[in-house]
């Protein structure tokens, strides 16, 4: 019997916001506690809170699955980055398109994917979103417009640009959102894709989820110039930068940008400054940063911040607790069900390779 998991938001008090400037000075200094007098839509935010809790619960369960050898390959948790996933995807319709990264569980859940199918996918089981053939890094759920996480940093940018190009060709109304990390801005696809989107004025929202790390290296140490938003601006793409741990800020800014894009305004760029509270992978103890740094970052936990905001806005403590227990119950059930789901039937190994040509050895 395992000890019960700690509360999803129980890592300490909140009040911290990260800086939006790019570079070494991205300390987690307290700057801005959002004034509670703002006119907040508590019902909408409670919904966002629920989604963030579901993401947190899913990823904590996935890490447990790694220890239990149920998750077989690498996973890249996004714990601490949930406000970006939820704030962006809350402003997309189901028919809108999302392209994600290797750190994509949160984006996928926020876009509406089923957590049981996702957990099965992480466990390599039949009934997974990709029949267990993709795993964490290739999670996709086309029926909710989620066209794939990607194992190659920055590769999703070009695919997203192409999806937006197809929307243009079909004179569709969909918006494409493409979320990538700060590490991606040093790959060629960032330049090629943003340029292309600018040339064609494509309906695409580029979201740089800047967690400060490119794998296990601090991004600023490997990045010349003024960073992601400045690069986008240099290509004529209007950019906004927000505190990515402030759900309200991400939600409000993404809402405005998506409306501008849907209105024919062309591409927009959103930089969300956040912090990766776990290592690069589930197996990375992250010795390249201090415990103090991580402890300080936990004080900016976006879920705890939103909980405090909701409490201040008058949401009853019982409702907040119920949201947390519901998230936990959903994911615990998914975990238990995925664990007893069968592995895919062997014929899946040679299904969906291609229509033309037999992939089997005996056919050669």
């Amino acid at each position: 019997m395992k000890p019960p998991r700690p509360a999803l938001t129980g890592r300490g008090p909140t009040s911290i916001i990260v800086a939006n400037t790019y570079g070494e000075d991205d300390t987690l200094a307290a700057k801005d506690a959002r004034p509670p007098s703002r006119n907040l839509d508590a019902a909408r935010l409670l919904g966002h809170y629920r989604t963030m809790l579901r993401i947190r619960a899913f990823e904590e369960a996935a890490l447990e699955g790694l220890e239990d050898k149920l998750v077989l390959g690498a996973i890249h948790p996004s714990i601490g980055q949930e406000a970006v996933a939820v704030g962006v995807c809350a402003n997309l319709a189901r028919s809108d398109i999302l392209l994600s990264t290797h750190r994509g569980h949160g984006h996928t859940i926020a876009k509406g994917a089923d957590t049981l199918a996702m957990m099965r996918e992480l466990f390599g089981r039949e009934g997974g979103t990709c029949h267990g053939k993709g795993g964490s890094m290739h999670i996709a759920d086309f029926k909710v417009g989620m066209l794939g996480a990607n194992g190659v940093v920055g590769a999703n940018i070009l695919i997203a640009v192409g999806a937006a190009h197809a929307v243009r060709l079909r004179k569709g109304k969909e918006v494409v959102a493409c979320i990538f990390g700060d590490g991606a801005i040093n790959r060629g696809p960032f330049l090629e894709g943003l340029n292309w989107a600018g040339v064609w004025k494509l309906p695409i929202l580029f979201v740089c989820e800047d967690n400060g790390f490119a794998a296990t290296t601090r991004t600023h140490a490997m990045t010349a110039g003024e960073g992601p938003a400045a690069r986008a601006e240099s290509l004529g793409i209007a950019s906004s930068a927000v505190d990515g741990n402030d759900l309200v800020a991400v939600d409000e800014t993404a809402r405005r940008l998506v409306a501008e894009i849907r209105g024919g305004g062309g591409p927009r760029f959103l930089l969300c400054k956040t912090y990766r509270l776990t290592g690069h992978t589930g197996a990375d103890p992250a010795p390249y940063r201090t415990k103090d740094e991580v402890a300080a970052a936990w004080k900016g936990d976006p879920i705890a911040r939103l909980r405090d905001l909701l409490a201040t806005a008058g949401v009853a403590p019982g409702d907040l607790a119920a949201a947390e227990s519901a998230a936990r119950a959903e994911i615990d059930a998914a975990y238990a069900e995925a664990k007893v789901s069968p592995f895919p039937p062997l014929e899946r190994a040679f299904a969906d390779v291609q229509d033309v040509g037999d992939p089997r050895r005996e056919a050669f």
Partner: protein
């Protein structure tokens, strides 16, 4: 039956498919001016700049955007100008296009055609002359086609556009002006079917793309020496037509594979190995390959010729194999 060049045949294929299917579009550098070899001439006038789309010199983005656009239900024809430049888009082709359907469990398809002009062409030197078809045949998920004639360049290109798999479509630059009869109407060539170009009894010579014409020239020379070579144009490398090759070898007892690409690790090795495994006891002589030496392609014509596979070499190799 029309007399068309290899380039005109491809243009006709694209025009017909774009008229037939509104989701087909083409994207690449300089397409608005007809493409670098004129193989898109006149198409922008008929279909407009949205469907015959100019692209920046961003091969990775051309290819990657085509993947996204294909996943959304359009059918892009991707022009990569020279196959050598396609190497700038290998992640997008190999890691993305070829694998998306499989790794996402069949949720989506990537129906696109990547046109890559290949081969040696008038002192084009090391970065504009390569034939890398062997690489692509190694990648699960890709179809690999290499037509040798105007008729096949129409029929195979049309079939490629209709195919739901990503297709690497290799056209030989030297063949653009080649004229030939092209059947009227909706001419389609089945992917995976070889063409017996010349029937013969003494040896099976398997080739594809421009090297087919080299082999035919050799066969004409050999015929005067009473050596009767059967020449097979594979034209589809994945999937490839094993039955036609094996049946031919069962008849002739000899196999020579000829290709312009580097011999080491080339697709000829796959054919030779398959025949050795499946038809060993039908063989009257060891199988033989004739490909390029493992050296880059030179600019100077005399050095360029050092890596060229010729009709004379093909004939000489054949004579040795039949014991003439």
């Amino acid at each position: 039956m029309d007399k068309l060049t290899y380039a005109e045949a491809s243009r006709q294929a694209i025009a017909e498919e774009m008229r037939r299917d509104a989701t087909v579009w083409a994207v690449g550098e300089d397409l608005g001016r007809g493409g670098v070899f004129g193989q898109y001439k006149g198409l922008v006038e008929e279909f407009g700049p949205e469907r015959i789309a100019d692209a920046p010199i961003s091969e990775a983005c051309i290819m990657g955007a085509a993947v996204g656009a294909a996943m959304m239900g359009t059918r892009p024809i991707v022009e990569l100008r020279f196959s050598d430049f396609a190497l700038c888009a290998i992640d997008e082709l190999v890691n993305q296009a070829a694998k998306a359907r499989y790794m996402f469990g069949g949720q989506g398809r990537v129906p696109l055609v990547v046109r890559e002009p290949i081969g040696m062409w008038r002192s084009s030197a090391a970065q504009h002359s390569q034939s890398l078809e062997g690489w692509y045949t190694h990648i699960p998920g890709l179809v690999v086609l290499a037509p040798a004639t105007p008729a096949d360049n129409k029929g195979l290109l049309k079939a490629a556009i209709r195919c739901d798999d990503p297709v690497v479509y290799l056209e030989h630059k030297h063949l653009w002006p080649l004229e030939g009869d092209v059947p009227d109407g909706d001419h389609l060539v089945e992917i995976g079917k070889a063409r017996v170009v010349r029937a013969g009894q003494d040896i099976t010579i398997v080739s594809w793309s421009a090297a087919v014409h080299t082999c035919l020239a050799a066969a004409e020379t050999l015929a005067k020496e009473r050596i009767d070579a059967e020449v097979i144009d594979l034209r589809s490398l994945w999937p490839w037509d094993k039955m036609t090759v094996l049946e031919s070898v069962a008849k002739t007892g000899r196999l020579l594979v000829v290709h312009e690409a580097v011999q080491v690790g080339g697709f000829g090795a796959e054919i030779a190995a398959t025949v050795a495994e499946r038809a060993h006891f039908a063989l009257k002589a060891p199988v033989k390959r004739l490909g390029a030496p493992r050296a880059p392609i030179s600019y100077a014509p005399n050095l360029e010729d050092q890596v060229r596979v010729t009709a004379e070499q093909t004939a000489a190799t054949t004579r040795k194999m039949v014991g003439a």
